[in-house]
Every structure is written in structure tokens, then in C-alpha cells.
Amino acid sequence: MSVEHLLEIRNLKTYFDVRGGVLKAVDDVSFTIEAEETLGLVGESGCGKTVTANSIMRLIPIPPGRIAGGEILFEGTDILKRSASGMRKVRGNKISMIFQEPMTSLNPVFTVGDQVAEVIQLHEKLSQREIRDRVIEAFRLVRIPAPESRIKEYPHQMSGGMRQRVIIAMALACHPKLMIADEPSTALDVTIQAQILDLMNRLKEETGASILFITHDLGVIAEMAQRVAVMYAGKIMEGADVDTLFSEPKHPYTIGLMSSIPILGIGKKEKRLSTIPGVVPSLFKLPQGCLFHERCSVAYTECGQIEPPMIDLGNGHIVRCHKYA
């Protein structure tokens, strides 16, 4: 191996065996995350973003789910080959996760301080006093004012933004190498969203952790990520660094997504907001050939027959489309 990536996913396939067939929630997904980098994973609802994240953490319920193939190399070793107890040592310690719903992701019967302390307790042997200091340090890191008194509060006493900070503090408590943020700002209102995103960017600088940032919001991605992967129906359609992707998107799906971002004042010129026609295909009835061809504005005849391979356009820009073959 020439270059050591922090995380390298190779041909990951996560399937769900359900009544009526096999759901290929994640099908042949590969990407890498380097140290101190934020990779954005964008896509519509149900395209497999969260399943990808849960696969990395091995949080897929088995059954009905199963990882049908592929490798997830974290610091050079395959996570999928770890034992259950070996996996527990990684979770929360080396790789941690930030959840979408700050309202329900904290246990309602414990104080927030206890919940952050539990993470530290699980992974490090420290005295009660040292743990308390670490919790307060984590709270300071996520800019919670007056941490000494706030650690004694219960989740229901805190606002959504504060709870999301606590969740981030939990994720940071053991100084992880990688944080997986699964739509961390979606459930928050816009001003709090901006604060949380700004906080995460600063924390990345301070702690040097890499972030896998999952969202459906392209505007958020532009602010957060260095590289972006666009997912559609369980497959990666396009990957590039953030500037390239936004200045010259190649895949028709990406182009469609970009043009369907509303721009303030668009109505004045009597121009309608453009949309992508059709709906995401059902995972039960995936189309032949390119998964996107039924909704694509530039589809050739071969798009409906042959699945396009991943094409490397150079400079780290990859796209899964026949147009560039």
C-alpha cells in the first residue's frame, strides 16, 4: 500500500433481506477520507447515506441487514473483521458519531454531564475527578457557557442547539480520529445551524479529527467539506473536491441538484425553480443500466442498457456517466 488513508472504503455492499427481495441500500461504494479532512456525502433521502455511515460503525441491525461485500479499512485494518468487543473499543473512541436528532439522541433520565462521562469511562481508566475535568473540558471545547453548572442539567432543560453541542461533546470526549456527522444540523433552525456548523469547522481545526459529513443540503456541504461524494440510489455518482464539484459538475444528477437550489429573488425574473423530473427509483425495482437514466435529461440509448463504470476525469474527479466515456 503506497498511501495510508485514514479511512478507505472499498466496494462496500450493505444489503437488507426483506420480504419481497433484497434491498441494495449501499451497492459498491468506495471512497477514502484522509487525515484532517472533511468529506461530504450528499444525496436525497433514502439514497443510502445513513446506511453507509452505520456500516462504518457496524450499527446495521443484522438481520435483516448484512454487509455483503467490501472492506472498510480504518488506519489500515479492516473494521469488518473486528470482533464485537474489538468494535466497541473503536466506537466512540477512534470513530464517533453525531446524530441528526438532538432531541432524542440523549438519554432523558441522566444528566448531560453523566452521559459525556460515560463515554470517557467506557474507554479510559480515569478517576472520577479526572473524568469530571475531562467532561468540563469537552463542554468548554463545544462552547457551552458555564460548564460547571450545565453538566448537572437534564436534556429536557436544554435547548436543541445546546443538546447538539452536548452530543458533539460526547463525540469529541475521547479525541477520535474520525467523526461521522449524520445530518447534524438538519433538525435545528437556521441560526443555530450556522452556529453548529461553524463550531464543527473550528473543532476540526483544533482537534485535527477528520469528518464524514452527511447531508442533503448542498449549501451546507459547500461550507463544510473539502471533498464531496454524491450518492444516488445506493451508488456514488460523482466525487470531486468541493470547488471542482460546484464550478464544473459533470454528472447530470449533480447538475440537476445544483440548479434546483433556490436563489433569493428568483421569482422576479419569472423564472421557475428547476427541478429534476421523476422520483428516486424504488430500491426494489432499480432500473436497468444507469440508475439515473429515467430522469436524466441527456440520456443516450445505451444508458438504459449498460451500467456506466466509474470514470476518472483526473485531478481526483470521478463520475459514473456514459457521457464522459
Binding site: R88, S96, T104, S105, N107, L122
Partner: protein
């Protein structure tokens, strides 16, 4: 002008009374105290518990002391009654009041032990069934169904007959037959809580299954358990008295309410008090726990809250 003082000291009383600052536990305690029947139950149980604890101090006689001269004396307000035996005596001349007071000890112990057995076993089995689902769930819950399929008192009789009569075995039998009630309630709560995000979050920070079940999920299922424990307490006392009445529980000369009723059964026409007072004692104790259980349910169940 008023000078605002800065008091950084933690005011403990405010943690209990101030609605903004207090622990959620006290909110529920307050809800319980607003409930009149719940408070009535609490008072009855408190009296009952005090009687049991202070039995040697407040009982006028030794409960096992026979007296050939005082056999079947009626209560004090009846003709022939005396202040020596306020509630009369039984056929061996033992003081009824003292026996009732000591009987509270037996009933309380019986309640604590049998509910304890049912609670611990039921919670563990129910939590495992609800958490792991699949075959452990099927195995455990079918076993619980089998226990429930037997008539309640019949199964207790079978268990006691197998273990041998005696208060200790009666407590175990009542504990065992109450396991399914707790197991079912816990299983349902665990299944409900399992879907919540904080469980996934706990797994994502590296908590083990055992830790997730007992440290994360279990404290969230406490409300229905507390209610069931309170209701089960009353029922355990009743079944304990039932077993003792049948001669399978407390053995003479131990003063147990059920055994006292059995003993007075043949004399009901001659000496009604030997049987009536233990019956009233059982009634009050069970009523107290049932009232408290209902009050707790109103206070703790989120579905019944406005």
C-alpha cells in the same frame, strides 16, 4: 433600592420546590401528592409499616402468650370484654390486637420478599426478551405464558406442595407466579425504548449490550415497574394470606392474618372477632397498596398526564 445579592450557594430546598430548578423526580412526587386516593394509600401503608416496625413497642401483650382464663374474650366494647384485651382473644387466650400487630410484620416481609423475587427475575427475563427478540424472546415469553396459564392459587399450591409448607416457601411460590407480570411489562417497555435514538447513540459510543440494557434502557422503564410493584405488593399479601389460610404458608404459632382467619373459621358464630379483625387488616393493607398503585400510575404514566 434593593441590593441584589449574589448567592452562588446551592439552595437544596429550591432543588425540591422551585419548579424550574428541581429534579424531575420531585415533579412526579408532587403529582402523587395531588392525587387524593394515592395519598390515602400512602397513609395506610405508612401506618401499616410503622406498626410492623414498632410491633414490640406498641403491642400490649406477647402475641404467643396463652392464657387459660382469657379464652375467646370479646372486644372491649362488647359485653364481657375488658381493657386487658382491646380486641378480644382467640381460643387459646392470645391477645388479638398483639397478634394483628405482629401479623403486619409477616405480611410486610412476605410482600417485600415475594415482590422482590418477582421484580428481579421478571425484569431480567423481560429485558433480555425485549432486547434480543428472536428465539430468546420466544423461549422466555412462552415460558411466562405457561406460568400464566395455570390458575394463580393452584400453581402456588403446587409449588408449595413441592417445596413443603412454610412461610419461606410460600414467599418463593408467590414470587415465582408473579414473575410473568413483571416480565411482560418490562418486555413491552424495552421494545418501545429500543427504537429510540439514544439507544443507537449508546451503541455508537461503544457501550456493551449489557450496559445498554441495564444502564441506558432500564432506567427509562421504571415508571410502569414501580406501579406494578405497588399493585403486586397488595396482591402478594392477599395470596400469602390465602396460602396461610389453606395451611400452606405460615405455620402455627406464627401470627399471620390468613392463618388467623383459618383458625377462627370454625368459631365464627361463637366468636366473630377472631376471624373478622384479621380480615379487616388484610383488606386495609391490600386497599392501601392498590390505592397507592393507582395514584402512582396517574402520577407516572405519561399517557394519563394532561
Amino acid at each position: 433600592m434593593k441590593v441584589k445579592k449574589n448567592k452562588p450557594k446551592v439552595n437544596l430546598w429550591a432543588r425540591v420546590t422551585n419548579p424550574e430548578d428541581r429534579h424531575p423526580f420531585f415533579d412526579q412526587i408532587e403529582k402523587l401528592f395531588e392525587n387524593k386516593t394515592g395519598v390515602a394509600g400512602l397513609i395506610i401503608i405508612a401506618l401499616f409499616a410503622l406498626t410492623a416496625i414498632l410491633a414490640p413497642a406498641i403491642s400490649p401483650h406477647d402475641p404467643d402468650e396463652n392464657s387459660l382464663y382469657d379464652q375467646l374474650k370479646p372486644p372491649v366494647w362488647n359485653e364481657g370484654g375488658s381493657t386487658k384485651n382491646l380486641l378480644g382473644t382467640d381460643d387459646l387466650g392470645r391477645d388479638m390486637l398483639s397478634r394483628l400487630i405482629y401479623g403486619a410484620r409477616v405480611s410486610l416481609t412476605l410482600g417485600i420478599v415475594s415482590v422482590g423475587i418477582a421484580l428481579v427475575c421478571g425484569c431480567i427475563l423481560g429485558a433480555l426478551a425485549g432486547y434480543y427478540k428472536g428465539w430468546p424472546d420466544n423461549l422466555i415469553m412462552r415460558l411466562m405464558d405457561i406460568i400464566l396459564a395455570f390458575p394463580y392459587i393452584l400453581l402456588a399450591i403446587v409449588i408449595v406442595a413441592y417445596l413443603g409448607p412454610g412461610l419461606r416457601n410460600a414467599m418463593m411460590a408467590i414470587g415465582i407466579i408473579n414473575i410473568p407480570r413483571f416480565a411482560r411489562i418490562i418486555r413491552a417497555s424495552v421494545i418501545e425504548e429500543y427504537e429510540k435514538d439514544y439507544v443507537t447513540a449508546a451503541r455508537a459510543v461503544g457501550a456493551s449490550n449489557r450496559r445498554i440494557i441495564f444502564n441506558a434502557i432500564f432506567p427509562n422503564c421504571l415508571a410502569p415497574i414501580i406501579v406494578q410493584a405497588s399493585l403486586g405488593f397488595g396482591e402478594a399479601i392477599l395470596s400469602g394470606a390465602g396460602l396461610s389460610f389453606l395451611g400452606l404458608g405460615a405455620q402455627p404459632p406464627l401470627s399471620e392474618w390468613g392463618a388467623m382467619i383459618a383458625q377462627g373459621r370454625s368459631m365464627i358464630l361463637r366468636a366473630w372477632w377472631v376471624m373478622t379483625y384479621p380480615g379487616i387488616a388484610i383488606l386495609l393493607a391490600v386497599l392501601g397498596f392498590n390505592l397507592l398503585g393507582d395514584g402512582l400510575r396517574d402520577a407516572l404514566d405519561p399517557r394519563l398526564r394532561d
